[in-house]
């Protein structure tokens, strides 16, 4: 047995913009254990429901995370609507899903770029982010924001997208898909890239199941677990939804799942654009959640399943609001995948759970 050393990693690290700290226990170059420490981003926003009423809190909920911002605003809106028994117009449901899927594309492209940076392929990082800007342009045109949109509201959505504009979006996505083919080839077929990914940071299917890994992290270990399949909101009208999975459980598989999900999202958007009904985009919501009413709702964020819980008390201020985000449930899986890897692979394996520490700590 070699000598044991402990190396601190983060919270400020050039490869990883996310402030997480790991104590890496090393035996020579091999990581035998990784002990995570979080709390650098904790703000305590769940307690803010006591000072912001349920409409104002929409803006706080959206800022749980700037990458999954739309997902969180959707999750919050969905929860409050269920709490108050509000049914929203069909068109709003479709628009929500379209923005949500666009967010997934931007989030996955962002991740693919970061992982390229993580394994030292700078130009691939730059090209991936160049493509991502096209999606951000769509956001900017349709909502005015690039990463935070404030497009969701309790009762529907704030902006409509004209049908002609929707077909414009589809055209942009088609253009993106053809350029994307070249990039995804680099991630999945390039030998030097594969050398960095294949067999690195393995999480087996059993481990993924035992540790409840969610999202692409779990699906890359072969767990076909995707909340979109329960058909919330506009997803209910999809003809056919099959989660993307891959069996190997290594970094390559996690890359593969995300690469394919981008294309799947484009398909979902196309299908919904073709089917979108005309009509209102929001209903007026009056009153307050009843005393003692409580609701749990969930949705599939780009990183996996997120839970929302809200409890009313008869006033405009909620009694309790709670979020459980994908990264917090994926940390045990990440620590397991790290055990036994080389020190040089640590940043990449940490990246492959697509950590969103801001969500985790709220």
């Amino acid at each position: 047995m070699g000598k044991r050393t402990i190396i601190p990693f983060g919270p400020q690290h050039p490869v990883l913009p996310e402030p997480v700290h790991l104590d890496l226990v090393l035996e020579d170059e091999i990581v035998v254990a990784a002990i995570p420490q979080i709390g650098f981003v904790h703000r305590g926003l769940e307690k803010l429901v006591e000072k912001r009423d349920y409409n104002q809190f929409m803006y706080v909920a959206e800022r749980i995370c700037g990458i999954c911002s739309f997902g969180h605003s959707l999750g919050y809106a969905q929860t409050i609507e269920a709490l108050m028994d509000v049914e929203i117009p069909k068109r709003a449901e479709y628009l929500r899903v379209i923005w949500h899927e666009l967010s997934r594309i931007h989030s996955h492209l962002l991740w693919l770029g970061l992982v390229a940076d993580g394994f030292g392929y700078e130009s691939l990082f730059m090209h991936t982010w160049r493509l991502r800007e096209r999606v951000l342009d769509i956001f900017e045109k349709t909502t005015g924001g690039r990463v935070i949109f404030s497009a969701c509201t309790v009762g529907g959505v704030v902006h409509d997208i004209e049908n002609s504009e929707l077909s414009g979006i589809v055209a942009v996505l088609d253009g993106l898909a053809s350029e994307y083919a070249e990039l995804s080839g680099a991630f999945l077929k390039d030998t030097s890239v594969n050398n960095r990914l294949v067999g690195v940071g393995v999480l087996t299917k059993e481990q993924a199941y035992d540790l409840s890994a969610v999202g692409p992290f779990g699906r890359a270990s072969g767990l076909p677990y995707d909340i979109r399949s329960i058909g919330y909101g506009g997803y209910a009208d999809l003809a056919n939804f099959v989660p993307v999975t891959s069996p190997a459980g290594d970094s390559y598989a996690r890359c593969e799942v995300r690469v394919k999900e981008v294309l799947a999202s484009i398909e979902i958007i196309k299908e919904l654009v073709a089917k979108i009904p005309a009509g209102e985009i929001a209903v007026a919501v009056k009153g307050a959640p009843a005393a003692g009413s409580q609701v749990v709702s969930r949705l599939e964020q780009p990183r996996g399943e997120a839970f929302y819980y809200a409890k009313g008390n008869g006033t405009k201020f909620l009694d309790r609001f709670r979020v459980r985000t994908p990264t917090s449930i994926n940390i045990p899986g990440m620590v397991t995948a790290l055990a036994g890897c080389q020190l040089a692979d640590v940043p990449m394996i940490v990246l492959t759970i697509d950590p969103c520490i801001s969500c985790t700590e709220r």
């Binding site: 919270p11 400020q12 690290h13 050039p14 490869v15 913009p17 996310e18 402030p19 709390g39 650098f40 981003v41 904790h42 703000r43 305590g44 926003l45 307690k47 803010l48 000072k51 803006y59 706080v60 800022r63 749980i64 995370c65 700037g66 990458i67 911002s69 962002l110 770029g113 990082f125 730059m126 982010w129 160049r130 800007e133 951000l136 924001g145 690039r146 990463v147 935070i148 969103c356 801001s358």
Partner: protein, 148 residues
Amino acid sequence: MSFATKSPWIIHYAATSCNGCDIEVLACLTPLYDVERFGIINSGNPKHADIFLVTGSVNEQNLPVIRQIYDQMLEPKVVVAIGICATSGGVFRECYNTYGGVDSAIPVDVYVPGCAARPQAIIDGVVTALGVLDAKSAAFAQSKKEAS
């Protein structure tokens, strides 16, 4: 400022940022916005950096981290607070675990508003910081001359 007198390197730390401003900082480094054309390079080492970009506000746990990075940077140095969280605490200012903007931990030279701050605004902030850096360098050189 017609030209920059040096190629300033930046270091970036995400305090309690929601990631919105962070990814915009990263977007500034990528082809569309490309701050590298000003000779700016993102560095991970505080001792290499001239400009400290902080996103998000200050809380109990990251206060020492922010101070530590700042203290490790060599003079002259400039701090840019990016986004409304870094400026004042923003939507989170009333949270129990938020002290407020970055200036509650270290002195800040340039404030970039916005939630999320747009890349254009961030670049504007960084370019403003270059001016501050030049002024500080001049003052620093002067004080060294006087001391010798």
